[in-house]
Every structure is written in C-alpha cells, then in structure tokens.
Point group: C2
Chain length 173, copies 2
C-alpha cells in the first residue's frame, strides 16, 4: 500500500521531466537501469501509476470557465442511468456521488459564462435530474497535484514496498 523513497523520487523525476527515458532516470537516481524498469512495472501493476497520458488543459482549448454543479436526482431513478447521461456530455469532466443534501457533484467546463448555461441546460435535460446548483471557480490557486502526497513517505519503514530483500546493495561493487 505504501511506496518507497526511490519510488517517490522516480515519480517526482518523471513528473518534472516526463519524456525522460528509463536509462536517463537510472542515471539521475543512481541506480541500475533494471531497477528503474522493475519499479515502474511494479507501480503500474499495482495501480499506483495509472498511466502517462498527456495532460490536456481545457483552458488552452478554449474552455475558460470551470464550474462545480451539484445535482439532486429522483431517487427511484437510481444513480446509474443519470451518470450515464452525464457521461455523454463532453463538458462534464468528472462526476462523484456525495454525502449531504445533494446527490451528485460534477466538475464541468465551458467556453464562457453564456456557454455554461448551455452545458447546464444539457445537464438538466438528463432524465432523472431534478435540480441543479452551480458554483463557478473564479481562480485555482492550487491546481491538482499529487506530488506532496507522494513525497510524504514515512522516513522509517522505507523498505515497506519491497517483499524480499530491502536495499541489498545500492552502489556497491
């Protein structure tokens, strides 16, 4: 469930210079190439690293407005048909079912405030949606990030991630 300091360093390195090859990573981190390869494979296999996809900026595509929309839905309808309908709207980037007064929380983008109205109209049209409430994101002082979480490796028990030997010989020979 936890990762290594080396794993963390590797992720941090790839976050900063993502087009780096395995060989170059091994040089930067001071370990053998096979080690880097194995670490990456393992983290991908364990699901820690879900992919390396290009991070696309909706803003750069002209979607300047981000909003959070909470939805109330007809309980009899169930969540699934509603989320399916929402998933069909490209501007809906994310949907969560949530606790509290509302049922769903969506992150949506639009080209402008006027365009946001169009998107919300599409959401309201989804069968099962009873009511919506929108909040516009004016600014994003802290954009989505995971690095601090990754860097937050328990200093003790560093060898947690390894099953067998821990750090047999780093740089020996």
């Amino acid at each position: 469930m936890t990762i290594d300091q080396l794993d963390a360093d590797l992720i941090a390195l790839l976050k900063k210079e993502p087009r780096l090859g395995v060989l170059e990573c091994s040089r930067r981190l001071g370990v053998a190439r096979g080690t880097v390869q194995a670490r990456l494979d393992r983290m991908i296999a364990r699901g820690v690293i879900m992919g390396f996809g290009p991070d696309v900026s909706p803003a750069a595509l002209g979607y300047a407005v981000t909003a959070f929309v909470t939805l109330e839905i007809r309980q009899i309808a169930g969540h699934d048909p509603v989320t399916e309908g929402l998933a069909r709207i490209p501007e809906v980037l994310e949907v969560h079912t949530i606790t509290g007064g509302a049922d769903l929380l969506c992150r949506v983008v639009a080209r402008s405030n006027a365009d946001l109205q169009r998107v919300i109209d599409q959401i309201v049209e989804v069968k099962g949606v009873v009511r919506t409430s929108s909040t516009i994101a004016l600014d994003t002082p802290v954009p989505y990030r995971v690095l601090p979480l990754v860097a937050d490796v328990p200093r003790h028990r560093q060898g947690d991630a390894r099953r067998g030997g821990s750090g047999p010989q780093r740089g020996v020979t």
Copy 2:
C-alpha cells in the same frame, strides 16, 4: 484556440498507449514522423498539453477517502495567505476560489474517515479559515477525463490550428 482532428487523434492515441514513441505514433496515424513531432511540439508550446507526468492514484497509495471541503475565510486576510497555508498540507490536492456562499473549495484525500478528521483539523488550523463544511465522495462514476472534450472537434473548420496551408497532402506521393 482550437485543435485539429489530427491533434485530437494524436492525444487520444497517446492517452491510450502513453509510452508510445513518436515514430510509432506516426505509423498509427498514417503521417510522417516530422509531422507528429511538430504537432506535439506545437501543442506543448501552446499549453494544450501541459505535460506527460505519470498519473498517480491516491487510492492506490492508501488514500481511500476523497472529500470536498468548502471554506469560509476572514475577508480581511485575503485569499493568498490562506491558500499558501492550504498548499502546505499534502492531502489538499486542489484549491479553487468560488462564487456563492463559501470562499474556497478544496479537494482533499485521507486514509480513512478518521484520518479525514485529522486533515480537516489541519485545514481549520490554517490562519484565516473561519468555517469549513465537508462532503465525502462516496463513489466516482465518471473519473476525471478530457478525451470527450478533445474528440469534440468541429467537423467544419478542421484546419483551424494551422497557420499556413491546411492539410496539404495527406498520404499523397
């Protein structure tokens, strides 16, 4: 501000198989290698592609709980010192300033519900934070995605992204 069908295809391809090289991309898309290279460079330069970082799953790291926390802050304090304080908490993944009753919306993760309390306590301790309200994400039927947005290229005006000639000879010669 817009992208091409080819750009969209390229992004979609890289999303699906991110470790693909430029050469392989060019083969799959049926264009010259230089073209793929130029498209990538241009999209990166324009900010459409912000990076290729590894997508880390907080859940796989043991952070099973996701919550959205809205904050009210002392207006005299201003936003900046508060967001700085929030940015120092690793579990705070994202912060937006928002319209409506509250001032800030944060996305946070925690290892458990009990652990969420600890994180919220840390948030409350940030100087300038007056009140918080939390909503737990029970499920995420639509995980963050951008592909539908990218694929949503206007069929007409496809050559928008190019400055000079549009689609000179695709596959000719």
